[in-house]
């Protein structure tokens, strides 16, 4: 049941680093994170890696496995051949801190810039009433575990550091979509989505949806509907006219 696998793991820090090769035992049913932990415990005690739940629920152990953005805890070793070399590298879109740990503060900065949730008043009896069908649209985006794999894979920022200032990335575009579709929220963020968070940069190649470990349809259910609503507003001739015509001064 057990075998020895060849692992290549990127080790280094902001100043540079390289892939180091390890031979390490693999047992039945294990995932990549188990093997990384075995390396820590037996061969590389200071190998830096983030993880928490080890069950695909917290989104901490994001990395690139054979070049593909994935959660290490949800990548089973049985998906590789026993003689296949498994290469684990840190997420490329973010600066390296050490080994497999990257500086993801870009995401926390963007999160802080989004205008906060702003609910309507409660009903007279102190409850909010919403129908299941109405909450489900936003619930899909609230499944997000903030692993930032969508951010990592998005070509707008993956190799274009310069776009980070103007573009919030797919995770935060669906946060805007979530708030826009939220049955209780009363703030309009459509202009901000376009002007401050770079909705227009996305050209809907759907790479983000493809790597999402939660199976969220970021592009189809979040970003495209948001784009449509922004466009509706911006290019609707009546709205356009309305914005140009001013009320005549009283005197």
């Amino acid at each position: 049941m057990s075998y020895d696998a060849t692992f290549r793991v990127w080790r280094g820090n902001a100043d540079g680093g390289d892939l180091q090769t390890f031979t390490v035992e693999v047992n039945e049913g294990e995932v990549v994170l188990d093997v990384i932990h075995r390396l820590q415990a037996t061969q590389a005690g200071d190998l830096a890696v983030r993880w928490n739940c080890k069950a695909g629920k917290c989104g901490s152990c994001s990395a690139e496995i054979n070049g593909r953005p994935r959660l290490m805890c949800m990548t089973r070793m049985s998906t590789f051949g026993e003689d296949e070399t498994v290469t684990v590298t840190p997420m490329r879109a973010f600066p390296v801190v050490r080994d497999l740990v990257t500086d993801v503060s870009y995401n926390y900065d963007k999160a802080a810039q989004i205008p906060a949730f702003n609910p309507r008043q409660r009903d007279a009896d102190g409850n909010h009433r919403m129908q299941q069908i109405d909450v489900e649209r936003s619930q899909e985006f609230r499944k997000c575990i903030e692993c930032f794999l969508c951010q990592d894979t998005c070509h707008v920022i993956r190799d274009h550091e310069e776009n980070k200032k103007a573009f919030a990335g797919p995770r935060f575009l669906i946060r805007l979509a979530e708030l826009d579709m939220h049955p209780l929220d009363v703030t309009d963020r459509k202009d901000a989505a376009q002007d401050e968070f770079g909705l227009g940069y996305c050209n809907i190649t759907k790479c983000c949806s493809e790597v999402c470990p939660e199976g969220i349809h970021l592009t189809d259910n979040g970003i495209i509907p948001l784009k449509e609503r922004v466009v509706d507003r911006k290019f609707d001739p009546l709205t356009f006219l309305g914005s140009k015509i001013r009320r005549r001064p009283k005197d």
Binding site: A41, G45, D46, N127, Q139
Partner: protein
């Protein structure tokens, strides 16, 4: 010494549900507030909570109210709960859930558009507000977004290694940045501990690496006391196969939504394990149990929904008797009882988890499950109304605090506990800080904390921390696990003493920048001291009750029913154990147990 320094009114240690709720309340009470957490914001163990938040909102059953919830909670804890905490919890939980909606949470709905509520073990009515089976994620994301919206300072990936005190009480905290290994000190008259539990000292656990008992240990060292540490909850249903996922939680919602437990002979064995204490309220036949899901008035609860301690013990006995599954668990079957569509809708993350990690389709075949270390009922002894510990300026809320759940916690009562007591702790911490300025952090204390943190680097050729951790986990699993005996626990205490010596001689490789080996070396002393507290208290309590089962004392005992066990740190650094009478509830509350029995 190079040291980053900050000044606050309230420092909250931990950013799970209790920590964030405490920080929000402290901030809104006007206190300058900081949150310090070991992981990134939003990754705390609260995300692992699946089933829901227990609150008697009566959205589905108008008969439900705080008195019924209070009664269920006390009976689930075998009456060892602090009555006042159980009362406050039951009374305030509905408001805490409603305010989450004002902060953006989106719970599943009833047909009337209200918050839906689901059935869970030990709860008389469907009571758990939920979002599919990912309620913890919804809770933490909502509180995280609220914390960010309020502009509260968050120190992410930052570990507190010591609480600082003077003769007047708390003066601050000392820690290190995980990323750089550099030290940081916070000067603050109030510290709220919200550090979660201790499960990482056990081999099979649903808990993450963060659950080292560091908050329990910091509190002890600062002079606070721990209450009833012997009560550790083994959740009846953890995954058992494959080995690498052993212990990962399988939510109680599977049973709440209709799932049943079977042994290898296909028998629904829980009917053989109904204790007298719960006999009057538990179904006697499978037919009655099955009718209960739709008609709670005329039928009684299925035995699969007995409190967790009862179910975990039953599974353990079935496996020991040779009626287990090939991988040493029992079968949890919902596939034969509910439609595939219903299962995928109600239990999406369970479906995903089994499919991805075990190649099991839970809509078509049963799961294999067994007990896993899940929660510690014991914790820092606090005042029920303010969550204040014995040390002035120190507060504790959530899993790190003790008393609320007695000897066994009901499912769903944890998320509500975080919110109710997190809020109370935050308010009391802000109040305590008012007018207390100009505290001093003596250089000597800071230098000493830094020296202690760096010690593992100074030793060469010592043992690897991962080996010591492994041996501790094996010890607790084998000797202070779900079924306990005096000789085994005595042996555990000897081994823990030997492990302490090994920890004093650890060495770590590499440097201070994001070094998990070093971090573990600093966590191990905490894990050892809480393990010692658990073993000592478990050896002392010569009865079986809730999460504490003694093979050599299998019955509950009337004298122990009135006794709490308190751990403190003695002058020589060892753990001291004393008995203390259980606070007695007033007669109007005691009357509840007659009126709804």
């Amino acid at each position: 010494m190079e040291l980053e320094r900050h000044t606050y009114d309230v420092v909250v240690v931990g950013a799970g549900g209790a920590g964030l709720r405490a920080a929000i309340e402290a901030h809104e009470s006007g206190a300058r507030t900081a949150v310090v957490c070991k992981s990134l914001l939003g990754k705390a163990h609260t995300v692992m909570a699946e089933g829901g938040i227990a609150a008697a909102m009566a959205n589905l059953y108008p008969e439900d109210n705080w008195r019924v919830h209070f009664r269920d909670t006390m009976r689930g804890g075998k009456m060892l709960n602090h009555w006042r905490m159980a009362q406050l919890h039951a009374q305030e939980a509905p408001d805490r859930v409603r305010e989450l909606e004002d902060w953006g949470a989106l719970f599943d709905r009833t047909p009337d558009g209200l918050i839906s509520q689901r059935d869970f073990g030990g709860h008389r009515y469907a009571r758990l507000a939920h979002v599919g089976d990912r309620t913890g994620l919804e809770l933490i994301r909502t509180l995280q977004q609220r914390t960010v919206a309020l502009g509260i300072d968050v120190y992410m990936e930052c570990t507190v290694t010591r609480l600082l005190t003077d003769e007047g009480g708390i003066t601050g905290a000392f820690g290190y940045w995980r990323e750089s290994g550099r030290f940081v000190a916070w000067q603050a008259p109030s510290v709220v501990l919200a550090t979660g539990g201790i499960g990482k000292s056990y081999k099979v656990t649903s808990n993450s690496w963060e659950y080292t008992g560091d908050g329990h240990s910091l509190a002890l060292q600062a002079g606070a006391s721990l209450v009833n540490m012997e009560f550790v909850q083994f959740h009846p249903t953890g995954m058992v196969w494959p080995p690498s996922v052993r212990g990962i939680l399988v939510t109680e919602s599977v049973r709440g939504d209709g799932g049943i437990l079977k042994n290898s002979a296909g028998n629904r064995f829980m009917f053989d394990y109904i204790p007298d204490f719960f006999r009057k309220e538990t179904a006697e036949t499978e037919a009655e149990a099955d009718r209960w899901y739709d008609d709670k008035k005329n039928n009684r609860r299925p035995p699969e929904l007995l409190p967790r301690d009862e179910v975990a013990r039953a599974i353990n006995s079935e496996v020991k008797a040779g009626r287990g599954t090939p991988h040493g668990g029992v079968f949890l079957d919902i596939a034969s009882r509910r439609s595939a569509e219903y299962i995928r809708k109600r239990l999406p993350s369970m479906y995903h988890q089994f499919k991805e990690l075990a190649e099991v389709d839970i809509t078509a075949e049963p799961m294999e499950v067994g007990p896993t270390c899940h929660y510690v009922m014991g914790g820092v002894e606090v005042d029920p109304d303010t969550e204040a510990a014995r040390v002035s300026g120190l507060f504790a809320a959530g899993e790190v605090a003790g008393g609320m759940h007695g000897s066994n916690r009901l499912g769903g009562n944890s998320l509500s506990d975080l919110l109710v007591f997190g809020r109370r702790a935050g308010a009391a911490a802000a109040e305590h800080a008012r007018g207390r300025h100009g505290l001093e952090l003596p250089d000597e204390a800071l230098a000493d904390a830094a020296r202690a943190a760096l010690a593992p680097f100074d030793r060469e050729g010592g043992e690897n921390p991962y080996t010591v951790q492994h041996d501790l986990q094996q010890t607790m699993h084998d000797l202070v696990g779900i079924i306990r005996t005096a000789p085994e626990m005595e042996q555990a205490l000897e081994r823990i003493a030997a492990l302490k010596e090994r920890v004093a001689n650890l060495s770590v490789e590499g440097h201070r920048q994001y070094n998990p080996g070093w971090h573990l070396a600093l966590d191990l002393p905490h894990m050892l001291v809480v393990s010692e507290c658990i073993a000592r208290a478990a050896l002392e309590r010569q009865e079986s009750r809730g999460g504490h089962t003694r093979d050599d004392f299998p019955a509950t005992d009337a004298e122990w029913a009135k006794t709490n066990l308190i751990c403190t740190q003695a002058a020589d650094g060892s753990v001291a154990l004393t008995r203390q009478p259980l606070p007695q509830m007033p007669s109007d509350l005691a009357g509840i147990f007659e009126e709804t029995a």
